[in-house]
Symmetry: C2
Subunit: 539 residues, 2 copies
């Protein structure tokens, strides 16, 4: 696969350039990023805390909403906070391989500007004043690279900031770190020939998830408290789940997509969205509010003019869309234990059960079982519509440099049964199936009122697994159903941390009978996954 045509670099040469640029950017951080052990343990989650000064640990482990409060009040300086995250991001890179480059010079210059502004005017420039925010690589920052995980695209440079970056800058954010993504962007892992594999800090034999796995691992190691990813099939949620942080896939039409590098631009049957990952729920809400308060729909005609709705009061007020608005009511939660295609691994089911057990004890909540509706059919639609050109653009972008196909690129582009180049009328036929599925699903949503005997309320939210298991071994994230389902429906979806795998509690499934080949495969995976007892790992 090593090619050399005239003056064109080989893919390996390009990868070395990419990694040298990354390493150089980390070497420029001051004070110097501490070295990590040459042979780190499988679980490196406690290492940054051991390697960094206590003050730096305190700053980087604070919730983003606390940092913003301190920055706006002048109790914290952005230069100090940004420096703290630059250092910890450097450590995170060395432990989980999650960063494509750090931006110490630009970030600290901006931080200093913001500190000066606050000192001069006494007011912050915006709701994210001085907060360091990390950004996935394919989201453009003017003048920097934009490769979407393709070696052949590595030399491309962004002419302008992505629209979401513009909104972040206006809100006062400091952009200091860019994070890894997989070849094609279409893995639920983060594996590329430019940077290799991004790994899970809780067990480096496992994947950090993807495609925003750089963000996931960076946040999991607290090298960032708020970052931006993108999601067309689980790419924000899988890394959030695998790294124990929060991740939101907003509905499409909320946040602007302008300036994202990807193949198949102009495809609108299954659309990507950008959204936040954060170490706190407050960070997610702060991000959405800070951006939507800028009314991005006034500049992007594809967006819907809807403000961020923080409806914490609706339970008390009874003002919900489905209800009749008389007095307080309960939040009605439909629990999807199993999607009917692939049975979740025991720790996932235990996590669901723990959440339900906690909610059952509280007066404001009502739990009902939510039965799956043709999730296998949903995947048929998705896999036909993800690559309506049969993967031609991805194939061209991979083959242009001679780089090898990563296993999960091959899986999603070449090994899906429904995958082929479609004609325009075939795209319409699949789009009609998509729309019909969306209508049927919403009918079921509304019909829960009748099923449950309460004519006043459909469910308010579905609680479900974020994946078929905890983080799998590298190159094994082959079941997208638990996340991609909500992309097909274009529902907003939030992942939040609940628990970790515990081998003492999470045994084998009793009386397991495979439902189908995918299910059997996922079940075998459960046995393959090494579950280290986190408590026993020392550095």
């Amino acid at each position: 696969m090593d090619q050399h045509h005239g003056s064109n670099p080989t893919w390996q040469e390009t990868a070395r350039l990419a990694q040298a640029r990354r390493d150089g950017s980390i070497a420029a951080v001051e004070p110097a990023v501490p070295a990590v052990p040459e042979e780190p343990p499988w679980n490196v989650s406690a290492l940054p805390r051991a390697l960094l000064p206590a003050a730096q640990v305190a700053v980087t482990e604070a919730a983003p909403e606390e940092l913003v409060a301190g920055l706006a009040a002048g109790r914290l300086r952005s230069v100090a906070v940004t420096g703290a995250f630059l250092g910890r991001a450097g450590v995170a890179q060395r432990l989980a391989n999650c960063v494509t480059e750090l931006l110490p010079a630009a970030a600290l210059a901006r931080a200093r500007e913001l500190d000066d502004h606050l000192a001069a005017h006494g007011t912050p420039v915006g709701p994210l004043h001085g907060l360091p925010v990390s950004v996935k690589e394919h989201i453009a920052i003017a003048g920097l690279g934009l490769n979407a995980g393709f070696v052949a695209w590595w030399h491309r440079r962004a002419a302008a900031d992505a629209a979401i970056v513009t909104l972040l800058r206006r809100a006062g954010a400091v952009l200091y770190a860019r994070t890894t993504e997989p070849q094609t962007l279409m893995h639920l892992e983060t594996s590329s020939n430019l940077y290799g594999d991004t790994v899970c800090p809780f067990n480096r034999r496992l994947t950090a998830g993807g495609s925003s796995g750089g963000e996931g691992a960076l946040l999991g190691l607290r090298g960032s408290c708020l970052g931006v990813g993108a999601d067309i099939g689980g790419s924000i949620r899988s890394p959030a789940a695998n790294n124990g942080v929060y991740g939101l896939r907003p509905t499409s039409g909320r946040l602007p997509l302008g300036g994202l590098a990807a193949t198949m631009l102009g495809q609108e049957q299954i659309v990507p969205v950008v959204g936040p990952l954060s170490t706190s729920l407050g960070g997610i809400k702060m991000f959405m509010k800070a951006l939507l308060d800028q009314k991005p729909w006034l500049a992007d005609p594809s967006l819907v003019p809807l403000p961020w709705r923080d409806d914490r009061d609706w339970l008390a007020k009874g003002g919900h869309g489905h209800g009749h608005g008389h007095g307080a009511r309960r939040l009605k939660i439909g629990v999807l234990w199993d999607d009917g295609v692939v049975k979740p691994h025991p720790p996932v089911t235990r996590a669901l059960r723990e959440v339900c057990d906690q909610l059952r004890g509280r007066p404001g909540f009502e739990l009902v079982d939510w039965l799956p509706y043709r999730h296998d059919h949903a995947w048929d639609i998705l896999s036909a519509l993800y690559f309506p050109d049969g993967g031609a653009e991805e194939t061209a972008a991979i083959d242009a440099s001679g780089e090898p196909w990563r296993p999960l690129s091959r899986f999603i582009i070449k090994e899906q049964p429904g995958r082929k180049a479609l004609t325009v009328p075939e795209v319409w036929a699949w789009t009609r199936k998509r729309d019909d599925y969306r209508v049927r699903y919403l009918e079921r949503w509304n019909a829960t009122a009748a099923v449950d005997g309460d004519p006043d309320t459909a469910v308010d939210v579905i609680l479900c697994p974020a994946g078929p298991g905890a983080a799998p071994p590298l190159n094994h994230a082959r079941y997208w159903g638990y996340t991609a389902q909500w992309n097909l429906l274009d529902y907003p979806a939030l992942v939040f941390p609940v628990t970790k795998v515990d081998p003492d509690q999470d045994g084998a499934l009793a009386d397991y009978e495979p439902m189908n080949d995918q299910d059997a495969w996922n079940h075998r995976l459960c046995g393959l996954t090494p579950f280290p007892n986190n408590k026993k790992i020392k550095i």
Copy 2:
């Protein structure tokens, strides 16, 4: 072209069936619909008033919001109002050929139910209680035909009501008339082999516009006061303009499209919308509010959860999105005199001038010129994306019955320079051009602040021609630019009546130089159009 394969009817036989069904439905109206003159004058707009009893004229010429007020208060009975409109619609059909069928039995039964409900409960069933509403044929009514202007589809029957019809019924509307549409639905006229041409009641040598031309002519003759059309390139607005009534093309994602018959279902690059035509502005607003107050987004996942916004107060309050919200402000109107491709005929320009002259004298308004931005490029995008299969579905639907191609079907499907079957990547490329055009246009919108020297306000609204001229002679509506432009941009667009052609005022253009072939063609059309002096026509 007369074909007869075995037991299949010829297209002429099907057309005779269609017309017999229509005529039978009108014959069932009681009291009998009055006969019209065997050779009616070119201008028949005054005939219904001359042919019908004064009480019937009074009811059918009332504004829909007045009728609803009377119906809700019990001053009017729905049976009487529905009967009045059934009779006048029958007259309108005989004068302008605008109806596919009347529904006297079903409408009067429903009207009686509503009257009984009000008598029993003292409250209306909804905001349109008892109001007769007309509906374009391809919008499904359960059990009735659904042909989209194709002879071959005439035998199709709707299994269920269209979603918009369900909303109308829930609001209390009485569905009593179905109206004509052109072959393919893709004309700005209303010409089919099932029913022939729908003509303009002010001059029967001219077109009623289209594709909702049946609605337009029916409303123009006051055989309806509120009707439902659909619009993908001007199909609500052209008939509103040609018949002197109001018509609104809402933004997509507002009103549900479920249950509309058309080709190319699943196409989403340029989407159709449904919307109202009315004899009053109040009717348009009432329609939108009555439907959106039902939160149709709870049943249709393609819709946006945005209520109807009646922002009459924002000028006084200064609470507009673009402004900073301090005190009262003016409505800033950008006037597009000419789209830079085809110069409007003199009566259109005079109408614009008359509106501007009236607005200039009022304190709450500010007028600025709005310069066109590449409307020719906009049409290139539209004409590529209207038929991405090269018109294959339309061709099949026309040819299935052996019916002849109507001239404007041929024009829009076979004679557009850019027309061809596209590959999926070609669709993406055009979609990117569409999105880029939308972004550039919005940049100009926002930039008017700078152009105009007022940093606080972009324009609020564009005032522009609803077409390149008044209603043209049959088969001459070949320039879509003035309406289709807003479909490409997906902006809401309202047509309202201003004036009529007046040969004494509307002379030839001075110093006319054609800008291009389309412009020259439109200019010649102006000379061809017979402008009768309405005042001189007697019945």
